[in-house]
Symmetry: C2
Subunit: 314 residues, 2 copies
Amino acid sequence: MLSSPAELVKSMLAGQRLALARLISKVENRDRDLAEIMRILYQHTGHAQVIGITGPPGAGKSTLVDRLAAQYRVAGMKVAIVAVDPSSPFSGGAILGDRIRMQQHSGDPGVFIRSLGTRGKHGGLSHASKEVVMVLDAAGFDIILVETAGVGQTELDVLRLAQSVIVVLVPESGDSIQVMKAGLMEIADLFVVNKSDRPEADKLVRELITMVSMSPHDEHSWMNPVMKTEAVRDSGVKELVEAIGSHQDYLTRTGKRTVKLREFLKNEVFDILVERLQHSVEGMFRSSSGEDILEKLIRRELDPYEAARWMSGS
Amino acid sequence: MLSSPAELVKSMLAGQRLALARLISKVENRDRDLAEIMRILYQHTGHAQVIGITGPPGAGKSTLVDRLAAQYRVAGMKVAIVAVDPSSPFSGGAILGDRIRMQQHSGDPGVFIRSLGTRGKHGGLSHASKEVVMVLDAAGFDIILVETAGVGQTELDVLRLAQSVIVVLVPESGDSIQVMKAGLMEIADLFVVNKSDRPEADKLVRELITMVSMSPHDEHSWMNPVMKTEAVRDSGVKELVEAIGSHQDYLTRTGKRTVKLREFLKNEVFDILVERLQHSVEGMFRSSSGEDILEKLIRRELDPYEAARWMSGS
């Protein structure tokens, strides 16, 4: 099983599921072959539509993601689902249920499902998630659905890897002021009011439409559509797929796709450098001179900014 | 008003509130004098007890923090309250209500209150929060209460700056399994069941005690106490202050205070280096050779790991 990175990538590009799973594990575990893997992979990326899905707990995100996947499968597209759950920073485990999903799509080689939990600090999860998406892109998935729970900063970082971001709300998930507070307005490309059979659904739809119309825009701006779905009954999902398609067309037509890609790549390069810095700082603090620095910091004979200057050798 | 960093720090050390407020603003805004300010300040730090308070929305954290502050004031201690709210990553504003609080403690020069919102990514908020706490420590506050809402990764990062962390729960805030899931078990030093007059309070207390007793420990371990409070009636707050005192004594007696300080300082040095890296990477991407790199990345003639290697000049 000791395949080289090049062999693993080759097998993955040939469609071998086991090679794909092993590559993703290597990305998650920040394997020492990581840089080499990503270097070989990178030229094969750039084809997938990456769609982020977020919203409060209980909004029905997982069901909606499953229905979206089913719609894309009907259209003959290969679909990957990545569920990112940063709410468990210590266990390293992902809570969102792979297993339940596996059953539904089991036996369909056109669907790949993976959950990611948190590793480390300083953007560790969003960095790993981004690289997992790049692996899936290279593997030839046409659609990559990235589901994230909650609206914390890590979740928002994760969503920056998506080209189109869907914010799913339910009538009882609170007023639209909450949406603005959580910064979702700035990151959303499409709003979905799920469980739209419930009372107050139309009120929420109206509030969201008002919010969208009040946000700064000109004639070239994308105006977030507000869609109604009942994911459990598969209602409104086809329309949502069409709206996502419109947003993807908008990105291409206006050149915003490249703008997003540039930001994505800048962040990726920065994340790589931060990770490298983390290793080198950890190494230095384990050395005897690093230990010395730390003792001086504790005795307050040296301050952290001076220590940082020493660490960076300048 | 163009005081030098040294003059500002001198005024702050002499007890001038305006100088303190200006220094904190400089930390928040990542002012270019920041490094110099922290260098001058650092030797004056190390005296404050830093206490973190977290828990789900509606647990009554703010009221409890106010009551704690009042208790410490009775004991003649100077108290600073820092409310950190990362839930608003785009506005840069802090939601937790300064103003309401200001009224309660207005006219008391022994209480200082400040709210912090999110700036930037990559641990920006936790880094700024940490340095604000260092400024308050140098300013001579005996007690620094750091209140954070929610249990996301940023909030947990922020809490790492505290020596004693209080997790506040209410009977209706859900079962203890949720607490474990959120990683709070690992970060908590004291549990508080607030609104303890409500039904189910004793059940939650028992569950928490069971959880604490089941966590791995030996005879030298700190066993998280589970305290009952009714903050609105000021009930149980005095006992909580005593329990915090016991934890602070435990940290000193066992040498864990220094262990925590070491981790704090390592992270502070790392955060400084990350921030410096961010500036240098942003600068490089604005240069013509950086622009060139980006174009090659977009055309996939270069991969991000190779680009990172070039950026770091190795």
